[in-house]
C-alpha cells in the first residue's frame, strides 16, 4: 500500500470513527432510556390496577394533562381523585404494542389498551390508542401528557 493510500485510510478512519462511536452510543442510550421508561410504565400499570396513590403521585407530573376517551381534559388531582374514590377501576388489564420516539429527555410512547375499564359507573370495553409523553424532570421520568382515543369509534 502506498503512503498516499495509507494516509487516505487514516483520514477516513479518523473521520468515520467518531460517527460510528456516536451512533453506537446513541443506540445504546436510546435502548437504556426505553428500558427505564418501560419500567416506570409497568409500575404505573400496576399502581392503576391497585389504585396505589403513592406510586401514581410520584409518576404523574404536577402539571400532567390527561385527555380521556370521552374527550375530557383532566388534571393530576382529578385523575388521582378518580382512582381514590373508585370512580375509575380496571376490570381487566391488557396494554402493549408500544412504540417509542426518543428526543433526549423526552419520550413519546404510543400503545394500545384493551383493558376493560369502569369509569363513573360506565364500562368501556372498546380498545384504545394512547400517546404518553414522559419527560425527565429532576432526574425522574414523569408522565406529563396522556391522550386516549377509542379505536374505530362510531361518529
Amino acid at each position: 500500500m502506498s503512503v498516499g493510500r495509507l494516509l487516505l485510510v487514516i483520514v477516513l478512519i479518523a473521520f468515520a470513527c467518531p460517527r460510528i462511536v456516536k451512533a453506537q452510543s446513541d443506540a445504546s442510550s436510546q435502548a437504556s432510556i426505553q428500558q427505564e421508561v418501560l419500567k416506570v410504565e409497568a409500575e404505573r400499570d400496576e399502581a392503576m390496577q391497585k389504585a396505589d396513590m403513592a406510586v401514581l403521585n410520584r409518576i404523574y407530573a404536577d402539571n400532567v394533562v390527561i385527555v380521556n376517551t370521552r374527550g375530557l381534559s383532566l388534571t393530576k388531582a382529578q385523575r388521582l381523585g378518580d382512582f381514590q374514590s373508585g370512580d375509575l377501576k380496571f376490570l381487566s388489564f391488557d396494554q402493549g404494542d408500544y412504540s417509542f420516539h426518543i428526543y433526549g429527555d423526552n419520550v413519546i410512547l404510543n400503545g394500545r389498551a384493551n383493558s376493560v375499564v369502569q369509569f363513573h359507573g360506565k364500562v368501556n370495553r372498546i380498545p384504545r390508542k394512547f400517546t404518553l409523553t414522559y419527560i425527565k424532570l429532576n432526574g425522574e421520568w414523569r408522565l406529563v401528557a396522556q391522550n386516549e382515543t377509542l379505536i374505530d369509534q362510531p361518529q
Binding site: V65, V67, R70, G71, I108, E148, Q153, Q155
Partner: protein, 174 residues
C-alpha cells in the same frame, strides 16, 4: 501488555466526560418542573405562531410548509384511533383525502418543559376525511420538540368529545 492510549482516544474520552457533564447540568437546570414564566411566555408565542402556520397550511393543503413543521418521526393518532406517520399525513393532504369544510381551533393550553412543549386544545373544524364528514368537536394533545434550534411537531392525538359537560363544548358553541 497494556497499550498506551492514543491522543485521539484521550480527546474522545474527555469529550464524552464533557458531554456527560453538560447533559447532567442540562438535566438539573434545563428541564425544571416549574420553568421560568417569561421564557415560557416567549415559547408559547413561538409555538402559537407555528400552530397558525400549520393551520393555514392544512387548510390550503400546503405540504411544503407542513414538511418543515412536521418532525421526521411524527406520530399522529387521528380521532378514529388510526396511527399515521409524517408521510401518511402528507399524502392525505396531497391527495385531497383530508379537506377542511370550515376551520376553528383554539382553547390552547401550554405546558413547557425546556425543549418540549405540550399543547392541548379543541378543534371544532368540519372535516371531510376520506369522504366522511366529521363535525364532532375534538380535544387534542400536540407535542413540539426543539430539534436543531427549530420547534418541530413530533406527536399529536385527537379524541372526539363525547362528554357533554358544558366546559368541554364551551369553546365550540361560542
Amino acid at each position: 501488555m497494556r497499550l498506551k492510549r492514543s491522543p485521539c482516544v484521550r480527546i474522545l474520552r474527555r469529550l464524552v466526560i464533557l458531554s456527560t457533564l453538560t447533559t447532567t447540568l442540562h438535566g438539573l437546570l434545563g428541564a425544571q418542573e416549574q420553568p421560568v414564566a417569561s421564557q415560557d411566555s416567549a415559547v408559547e408565542k413561538e409555538i402559537l405562531s407555528i400552530e397558525t402556520l400549520k393551520n393555514d397550511a392544512m387548510q390550503k393543503g400546503d405540504t411544503k410548509v407542513l414538511k418543515q413543521i412536521y418532525g421526521d418521526s411524527l406520530i399522529f393518532v387521528n380521532a378514529r384511533g388510526q396511527v399515521l406517520t409524517k408521510k401518511d399525513r402528507e399524502k392525505e393532504f396531497e391527495s385531497g383525502s383530508v379537506k377542511y369544510v370550515s376551520f376553528r381551533q383554539g382553547d390552547y393550553h401550554f405546558r413547557i418543559y425546556g425543549n418540549t412543549a405540550v399543547v392541548t386544545g379543541i378543534a371544532c373544524s368540519v372535516v371531510d376525511y376520506h369522504g366522511r364528514i366529521n363535525q364532532t368537536p375534538r380535544r387534542f394533545t400536540s407535542v413540539y420538540v426543539k430539534l436543531d434550534g427549530r420547534w418541530r411537531f413530533v406527536a399529536h392525538q385527537a379524541t372526539l368529545v363525547s362528554d357533554k359537560e358544558p366546559r368541554n363544548l364551551q369553546y365550540c358553541s361560542n
